[in-house]
Amino acid sequence: MDNQQTSLESSLGCGLLGCAGDMILGFLGGGVLLIVLSLAVAVLSPDPALPASAGFSDLQLTVREDFLNRFVQTSAAGNVRVDILPGGQFNLIFDSSVTLSGVSVPVQITGLFEIQLNGQTVELRLLDTAISGVTLPVELTGFFDDSLSEVNEELDIALNDISTTLGVPLILVNLGSDDATFWLEASEAR
């Protein structure tokens, strides 16, 4: 009876010892196996694929009216302000004064401009000019021509700068405005 009891305790002891030992072995072996398998999976994995285009433009640029006002006020002499209108249009308003017979009379020159996509460039053009509310025929507004060419060149340069920074040519897909912001959307030429 005593021998049977001793044999059972010995077997149980062996079992518990095996259990503890193998738990450590299982943990260490599993850990090593995991590291080796992880490395193998990582080495054998194919190169990561670029994500598919989500169906909208790759780049969207939004410019606010406040910024444009500050920008033109530092760039232009006098009191100039921008009023963005929906449909890619904006008013450029220049407040000045003229002296008539020794009397200073306030004058407001307003140019209505449209900015639109022309192929792969952004083009700014003059739609209408008014002096103190009186609309001038477009033929009489040639004084804007030089400035327009200059602005159009600067817009081209700015787009080229963005393209250079991104390291890829851009395809312009949309240009628009609401009453406070302009936006431009472009996709990468792939």
Binding site: L39, A42, R64
Partner: protein
């Protein structure tokens, strides 16, 4: 080996493997825990620039000269998957990063590295790898035109949006 020995061996082996599994789960949870920097609400800015995930991936591929995929998640979370050198091997690794603002700087922070199915928290990695996690934030800061400063950023599952203020020439 007697009956109890076999039983002990089986139970021990299974328990050991279970512990490994639990360790893996714990490590993944620890690596995924949110970390600073957090994104602040976006201010109203002069200019907003939004770039798609595919555009960023192409940009990163060109910069690193190896196929690189960038996956964006809301809250400034970014996953960068690329092939890198590890001794004599070139495994594909996935880096989990956080992107946020710290004052006027864009900062990025490495959170974890995934190698195969092993996700290692950043705190267990060498300092040189942790420091390399700051590279995306530094690149964004360097690519920002001098006339502008970044005042905010936000990520969605498809794109990253930068808020820029004009500071003049």
């Amino acid at each position: 080996m007697n009956r109890w020995g076999c039983f002990g061996l089986t139970v021990g082996g299974l328990t050991g493997l279970l512990l490994v599994m639990l360790f893996l789960v714990w490590m993944r949870q620890m690596a995924s825990a949110p970390m600073e920097p957090q994104l602040a609400p976006l201010p109203v800015a002069d200019v907003t620039l939004s770039l798609s995930e595919s555009s960023l991936s192409r940009f990163a591929t060109d910069m690193l000269k190896t196929p690189t995929r960038i996956d964006l998640e809301p809250g400034g979370q970014i996953e960068i998957t690329t092939r890198t050198s590890l001794g004599q091997w070139r495994p594909v690794v996935c880096l989990g990063m956080s992107l946020g603002m710290q004052g006027a700087d864009v900062v990025s922070q490495l959170r974890w590295v995934q190698l195969g199915f092993l996700r290692i928290p950043a705190r267990w990695l060498p300092q040189s790898i942790i420091n390399a996690g700051a590279l995306p934030g530094q690149t964004i800061t360097q690519q920002t035109p001098a006339e502008f400063e970044v005042v905010g950023l936000q990520t969605t599952s498809d794109s990253i949006e930068f808020q820029l203020n004009w500071i003049g020439p």
